[in-house]
Symmetry: C2
Subunit: 292 residues, 2 copies
Amino acid sequence: MAGLDPRLDLIPAVIRARAFRKFGRTLDGASAAALEFSRAFIDIVAPHVPAIKPQIAFFEQFGWPGFRAYCEAVAHAKKKGLIVIGDVKRGDIGTTMAAYADAHLGRVKVAGKLCEPIGADAITVTAYVGSDILAPFADYMAKEGKGIFVLVRTSNPSARDLQDITSRRELVYETMARYVTKWGAPYVGRSGYSAVCAVVGGTDPKAAAHLRRLMPKTIFLVPGFGAQGATSQDVTVCFKKDGSGAVVASSRAINYAYTLPPWKDLYGEKKWESAVEAAAIAANRELNRIML
Amino acid sequence: MAGLDPRLDLIPAVIRARAFRKFGRTLDGASAAALEFSRAFIDIVAPHVPAIKPQIAFFEQFGWPGFRAYCEAVAHAKKKGLIVIGDVKRGDIGTTMAAYADAHLGRVKVAGKLCEPIGADAITVTAYVGSDILAPFADYMAKEGKGIFVLVRTSNPSARDLQDITSRRELVYETMARYVTKWGAPYVGRSGYSAVCAVVGGTDPKAAAHLRRLMPKTIFLVPGFGAQGATSQDVTVCFKKDGSGAVVASSRAINYAYTLPPWKDLYGEKKWESAVEAAAIAANRELNRIML
């Protein structure tokens, strides 16, 4: 799976220049650049990946024009047949969480008329507030094939601060894994997997392997492949023996392949599209190789 | 402090009708209604409260036009001299969290030019990923008087799922309280309070009183006053003896006072503005009374 992180300073100069000519050095200009990059990127990777994971923060940083660009990028990816996992990490309670669920995955009722604000297939969520995050997604998961990815074990250095706290019986992230399994039980489909999924960082293979055993019916979203330092060997443990059970996300290493070896020398910024395609194909090949 | 939750079904009918006439039963229409309500609400409460806490989910539910309405509501509140605490509960790592910090509290660089996407004074954040949330806010807190409110103990029923896990020495929320104190130490100002603050639910006074003792230099944001069930007696424990140390948020009970006794009979929907003002004054009086 390809991540999509429109970082303005890494978007090819030709796209930025065009956007700034049209909209000035403004949030509108930055959002236009982010959207043009996103659309072009989606067109290139669509034949090679099943799903895309846009990181909303890199759109939201440009205020509401950025949020609009996010909505339009999601729509474009859907049109190209991709599954869209919105990396939004929302987490709140009651009617507030319901508003997020309706906004990102579902529909909102406006004077009796149903409108679809964004229309992603799944989003990432945070569950510091506990099980209360779940209810707003129930119908979307049971009836519409939508899903959520709950943060269980993240790939950052300070993940241990909270996630590695030991209670009498288990670590916090094991507790979270237990909840995800429990929450997901009613939503296991014909594939044998649940619509309640988990985010499991790829940078700690030991923890990931342990979680793979704990959560046999849970799909893992594994960030950190490529630029964040997780190797294909590291992420292997997130898959089951039949090669299913995980989607591995590579963001920077594909988005901005033109800045990284070997694509930097082979293509460079002018041929950034070729670099994206080559990097996507190479990532696929590497992941397929380790799963054989 | 007044919360601001633009729930479409509770926004007075006259405002909704006007917005739908102009923009149709669309996300634009819903967002226009949310913004008109927000502006009118802000005008009414501005003389009575120091701060406002808009809940972004109730704007985000209308997609990007809703997000735009949020930005415009924040700008309007700032113009009226209010402190704005954006209730956004973002929480992510590295450059992603930096993008959220720049978006909500700070500025983003667009081709060398600094743009301010939203401009709130503080936001709520989630720290499931640990200390890594902090760094992006350091300069905004140290140099610009901005702040963050970290979720420590939430007011919802399933808060206990994660927050009440017992480790060898302490509960998860006590651990989080310890982090907040540690993270906040470099940002204690002349008031004796830190820019790193805490969200502490008002519905569990025992936990709140305990946290008040644990965190003497931390300002509490206390949601749940009024409609969520926390009474003025419950929230008293969140203040220190000198009456400082907490901001109590009342959302529904003020926003939609016209639907609740005694304002429902006294004013009703047609005089919803009078109901808002009366409820804000009454909430102030109640909080002042218990602190004497």
